[in-house]
């Protein structure tokens, strides 16, 4: 059921093309034949090839020129140079240019068989390395990347270790910014699939029209603009983990398609007719309440049961306040290094403001707040002033316990602008695009005052 290997034989001699292609076809591969370098490049626009067998001497574009072009545009395609007996020095030159191996005509049948097996394995490793290089920095951490010593987090670490080795689908629930992707990466890093790729898909960020071809891949010509075949993310995730972030955003049609993949363990590229084996572990995450979505009919119950074999809940930051100092110090060090700022600690009083804050945006918000403080810091220690805008109690009565309310946002915004403008009402009103009397009314309404002043 695996997709067949695809080879191309590029040789101006028909007899060589035919013999080599006939031999390769017996290995159940699809083999294309090109009689010139130019024709080979045309074919490469249409199909992905595993191995190219290229004659070094051809009229027009020779084997060397083709080799150079292929290695530039399709670095993971393996190229074998074919030379005639007595021109081995050309082969050496070709190897210097990046050819993966060479064959001297006529070849020993045993050698050809071993060469093809070796090169296919080499190509698989090339693709894997290519992918891992891009992923390795993100994936290496495992649970080390997740900071926290609170009871809910320690319980979460235990659960991750427990469930990681199984193959069951995992659904991670948690508010936005709680680090759901880090948890998914940690599960992957401790699973049997650790050696395979971790492929995250942000379902909310990919336009609906592109989602299908992103996930399943497509064949050439399956729609306007599909000028070459493309592997889908499910195919890329072979042997690894597929992470569907914001799974609640998936359209009902896509839910049906994914459900089919999970049931049949096989899928088709868009416009493709050959089934491709799916081999991945699924981890999904959402901040939504999917049971409500099911009741509302926007999320399929059968799909939900497939993705929700194991459920993990990542606690919100306000539920693990004891982790805030550790997290804040962690971000401080990280950001200070990244931005090359000589900031090394947060004053105790400032830390208290952070601990008392409600963190509707969770860890992501905390990271942003610390980053802002580091970037604007004028001393090596961050004082409470840097976080004053977070804590309404320091400047006025708490008006609304829900810091995400519109009133709260408006109040904070007005206070920030006033402070930036050193309480110059005219300038602040101009920035806020209201007239001065309106601004005075708002200041009275929210009980805002200048630090050290009596209320207006």
């Amino acid at each position: 059921m695996n997709a067949k290997n695809r080879f191309m034989v590029v040789d101006d001699e028909l007899i060589v093309r035919e013999s080599l292609a006939a031999w390769l076809e017996k290995e159940n591969a699809v083999v294309d034949r090109a009689e010139s370098g130019e024709q080979a490049l045309d074919f490469m626009q249409q199909n992905l090839y595993d191995i190219l067998f290229v004659d070094i001497k051809m009229p027009g574009m020779g084997g060397m020129a083709l080799l150079e072009k292929v290695k530039k545009s399709f670095p993971t395609t393996v190229v074998v140079i074919i030379t005639a007996y007595g021109t081995v020095e050309h082969a050496v030159q070709a190897m210097k240019l990046g050819a993966d191996d060479f064959l001297v005509k006529p070849f020993d049948p045993e050698g050809l068989g071993l060469l093809v097996t070796k090169l296919l394995e080499h190509k698989r490793l090339l693709e894997e390395t290519h992918y891992l290089r891009s992923e390795i920095t993100k994936c290496w951490g495992g649970t080390d990347e997740i900071v926290g010593r609170s009871r809910p987090m320690l319980e979460l670490f235990d659960t991750i270790m427990e469930i990681a080795p199984s193959e069951s689908s995992v659904l991670i629930l948690g508010e936005t910014g709680t680090g759901k992707e880090l948890i998914a990466r940690a599960i992957h890093a401790h699973s049997k699939r650790m050696g395979g790729p971790f492929v995250p898909i942000n379902c909310g960020a990919i336009p609906e029209s592109l989602m299908e071809s992103e996930v399943f891949g497509h064949e050439r010509g399956s729609f306007t603009g599909a000028d070459r075949p493309k592997k889908g993310l499910i195919e890329v995730a072979k042997g690894g983990t597929l992470f569907l972030d914001e799974v609640g955003e998936i359209t009902p049609k896509m839910q049906v398609d994914l459900l089919r993949v999970l049931q049949d363990k096989a899928f088709y590229r868009v416009g493709g007719v050959d089934p491709i084996q799916a081999d991945f572990r699924l981890i999904s995450a959402t901040h939504r309440d999917l049971t409500q979505e099911i009741a509302a009919g926007t999320f399929r119950q059968d799909f939900f049961y497939r993705i929700n074999v194991i459920t993990l809940r990542v606690p919100a930051l306000r539920e693990r306040k004891e982790d805030i100092p550790i997290l804040a110090s962690y971000f401080l060090k990280k950001i200070a290094v990244e931005t090359n700022r000589p900031v090394d600690s947060i004053q105790e009083e400032a830390m208290r403001i952070l601990v008392e804050h409600d963190w509707p945006g969770n860890i992501r918000e905390l990271q942003n707040v610390v980053e802002r403080a580091v970037v604007t810091a004028k001393k090596t220690v961050i004082g409470p002033d840097a976080f004053a805008y977070l804590n309404p109690q320091a400047h006025g009565p708490s008006i609304d316990s829900d810091s995400r309310s519109l009133r709260h946002v408006e109040m904070n915004h007005i206070r920030r602008i006033l402070e930036e403008e050193e309480w110059n009402i005219s300038r602040a009103a101009k920035i806020l695009e209201v007239d001065r009397s309106t601004l005075h009314n708002k200041i009275r309404k929210y009980g805002l005052k200048r630090a050290g002043d009596t209320p207006l």
Binding site: E25, N28, L112
Partner: protein, 175 residues
């Protein structure tokens, strides 16, 4: 093709008849076409022989297998035990290299004939579109050397057998 020994032809005919459950005719010998001889290699070009047979026997037999004692090669390989195109009509096999065993000693006639049967079935299998099989010791496993040939069995694995009969019935339906 050329002078082939009788017991070789008989064992090839019998084994193919047993495998395909179709009558197998042993034709009168014909010379190997001279244009397929590659002087610089002192071998015959197997692909050339196949093309010749395709032209020579266009109509009746379902498949045709040329058997020769002459050593075969093809334009890219230094030698072949046999040759066939996938789904082609004709195949050819040589027993020039099948006599010798370890330390270049002649093997028994039984072992030699067992090798002959393996090559014959393997090449005829390709003409029924069977690709190389990597399941166990199926006769469709690629065998480029004598030890490879000896280590596989002289019959098809259940999968290849199924595919062979599907191809065969499709072919017979179409006739």
């Amino acid at each position: 093709m050329g002078r082939a020994e009788e017991d070789v032809l008989t064992v090839v005919g019998d084994s193919l008849q047993g495998l395909l459950r179709l009558p197998v005719d042993l034709l009168d010998p014909i010379p190997i076409p001279q244009h397929t001889f590659m002087e610089e290699r002192n071998q015959y070009n197997a692909m050339g022989i196949i093309k010749f047979m395709d032209q020579e026997y266009p109509a009746n037999p379902v498949k045709i297998l040329g058997v020769t004692r002459a050593d075969l090669c093809n334009p890219i390989l230094t030698y072949v035990f046999g040759e066939a195109y996938m789904g082609g009509k004709s195949a050819v096999m040589s027993y020039a290299r099948l006599h010798l065993g370890e330390a270049n000693k002649f093997v028994s006639r039984e072992q030699f004939l067992d090798r002959v049967v393996k090559v014959a079935i393997h090449e005829i299998g390709h003409t029924f579109n069977l690709p190389h099989c990597h399941q166990g010791r199926c006769v469709m496993r690629p065998s480029n050397t004598i030890p490879d040939l000896d280590s596989k069995l002289n019959y098809l694995c259940p999968y290849c057998e199924l595919f062979l009969f599907e191809a065969l019935s499709a072919l017979l339906r179409g006739r």
